[in-house]
Assembly symmetry: C2
């Protein structure tokens, strides 16, 4: 039995991605995603006593890595399904990534966002031409609302992480890290990735397994949202405590994704957790010394290095800075005293 | 008549540098100065309707381009003169560049700094191991004080810009811009350089004249300190008004240097001036959209592009971001409202 791709636009995302999918994503993103630099800071190297290479996805289109996965997913939507557009749910970086990718491809995009989301995030998402659909986060389910819109319009849902196209797209970031490290003569002992639902971690782990198999990949999370760390230890998906809090707004997922965890369980060396105070200190260090604007969720991997959560002395460690979308008031408070 | 180099350590800096000096400086700095990236932001390109390439010297060792010139100057001090060390005067980026370069080379460094300089700048300079010599800016001349120290100790004065070794070192930044633009397939129509005493401008202009002769180089200054712009127009060095004010603390020089102006008069297309309000807006844009921390004096060239001071639509323009050393309080105020 065969069916036309147009009638089943989501099917290709049901199987977990392989390295070939990451390589294909890199070809699709060539010239569209920014090939962000792999930076080195003598001051950081001296501070930790090792070589640290910083992948600055803060400098990516839309200010985070999310454009990579969103574009790679949306560009594969069959022609017949394109006019109905895409729908997603997000209060932050994924919303902007989807909105920007849909705009480039000429698809309408609807983003379900909390009615009380920060004005700046609502404005940024609308600025990319997306339709923002507000919902009451105390009374409605954003997933159900997105499903209902997708059903009614025939729109394709672009999930934030548990999707093969998304994971492969985020993996292009890891592929670049492997290529850039090799070009700089660096043999990476470890790669530390900021982890929410695990899509970026899984994609990067796929790339490293193929291109830099001696590199241990770690998922770094806020201490109150260390579901991936505990899930890796226990060998099954476990959730975060209800009511858990962290100011790392980009990483507040309830539990690992099914597809991302299946990959991470196989490919990732382990999980690391950092406190909000350690994240704030990392953001202040990035301001003072690196001169890079990093948002809380984008700074957890750097925080793990600065807080000695992993032995990096005498080693070469890649650290992913995953995003820089932070509002000025929050940022001002953090750089003033380095605390959350 | 010949004399030993050791007895006349300063002589080689009396003649203006050539491109060969820039190339020699690049060889000396290889592996020591950061080869900072030439970045491209789709959002910035869209905003100005042209291609803009950003040379991020904010990511240089010590947070500004000043390390390049300082190291290139100090490494050429003859062995016999090294134990007596170096002395300079600066309240900011040059102080840190000299302190860091002297530390690497194992020379003692004395920096004459205002007693009421910001605590963070005094602390940073001391952190690189330099001796800070405070002076009363209302009662003493910093140049006279530095000369007196140099005389008494036999130390070598490392001037901030009017010195062939300094200019050649700063020129390595321009050399990298030419090389990186070519590698990215970009033919530069113009290069905009942040300009104080004119050392960075002169060095970059030397590099571009040799490696990218079709590129027009512009010196960009704060409107109240547009001495280079007016000097280029009038064909002779003119000074800024006494009592002129700007928050671009890195660019507050009284008039162009003699050596830098002789070069810039020959090599530079012209000068551009921006208001402090335009600089503040550029810093806020760099925070919001580029995710780069840029100090006031480091943002004037970006401000010139954003304020349409030069036609960049449909063209390819390189913009130098020369430094990122700004204190958190000042930065917080500027990103909050985008005004000085």
């Amino acid at each position: 039995m065969t069916s036309s791709p147009a009638s089943m636009p989501d099917d290709f995302t049901a199987a977990p991605p392989t390295f070939a999918d990451v390589a294909a994503a890199a070809a699709r993103l060539h010239g569209l995603a920014v090939r962000t630099p792999l930076l080195e800071s003598p001051a950081l190297n001296e501070r930790v006593g090792g070589r640290v290479l910083l992948k600055a996805e803060t400098l990516q289109r839309t200010g985070s890595f999310k454009f990579r996965g969103a574009y790679n997913r949306i560009v594969q939507i069959p022609d017949a399904a394109r006019p109905a557009g895409v729908v997603t749910y997000s209060s932050g970086n994924h919303a902007q990534g989807v909105a920007a990718a849909a705009a480039i491809l000429g698809l309408p995009a609807a983003i379900v966002m909390p009615a009380d989301a920060p004005a700046i995030k609502l404005a940024n998402t609308r600025a990319y031409g997306a339709e923002v659909i507000p919902y009451d986060r105390n009374a409605e389910s954003r997933e159900a609302l997105a499903e209902e819109i997708a059903e009614r319009r025939g729109a394709t849902i672009v999930r934030p992480y548990d999707d093969a196209g998304i994971i492969a797209g985020q993996g292009t970031c890891g592929l670049e890290i492997a290529e850039q490290a090799a070009a700089q003569g660096a043999k990476l002992d470890a790669l530390l990735v900021c982890c929410g639902g695990g899509g970026l971690t899984a994609g990067c782990a796929l790339a490293m397994a193929e291109r830099s198999p001696g590199t241990a990949v770690y998922a770094v999370e806020p201490a109150a949202f260390d579901d991936t760390r505990r899930s890796l230890e226990q060998g099954e998906r476990v959730s975060n405590a209800v009511g858990a809090r962290s100011f790392c707004d980009a990483l507040l997922t309830p539990e690992p994704g099914a597809m991302t965890f299946a990959l991470n369980r196989r490919l990732v060396a382990g999980g690391l957790a950092v406190s909000d105070a350690e994240v704030a200190e990392a953001m202040a260090f990035a301001f003072r010394t690196l001169k890079l604007v990093v948002e809380p969720g984008g700074a957890v991997a750097l925080a793990a290095v600065l807080a000695n959560r992993l032995e990096v002395r005498g080693k070469t460690t890649a650290v992913l800075l995953s995003g820089g979308n932070v509002d000025p008031q929050t940022y001002a408070e953090i750089i003033a005293d380095g605390t959350a």
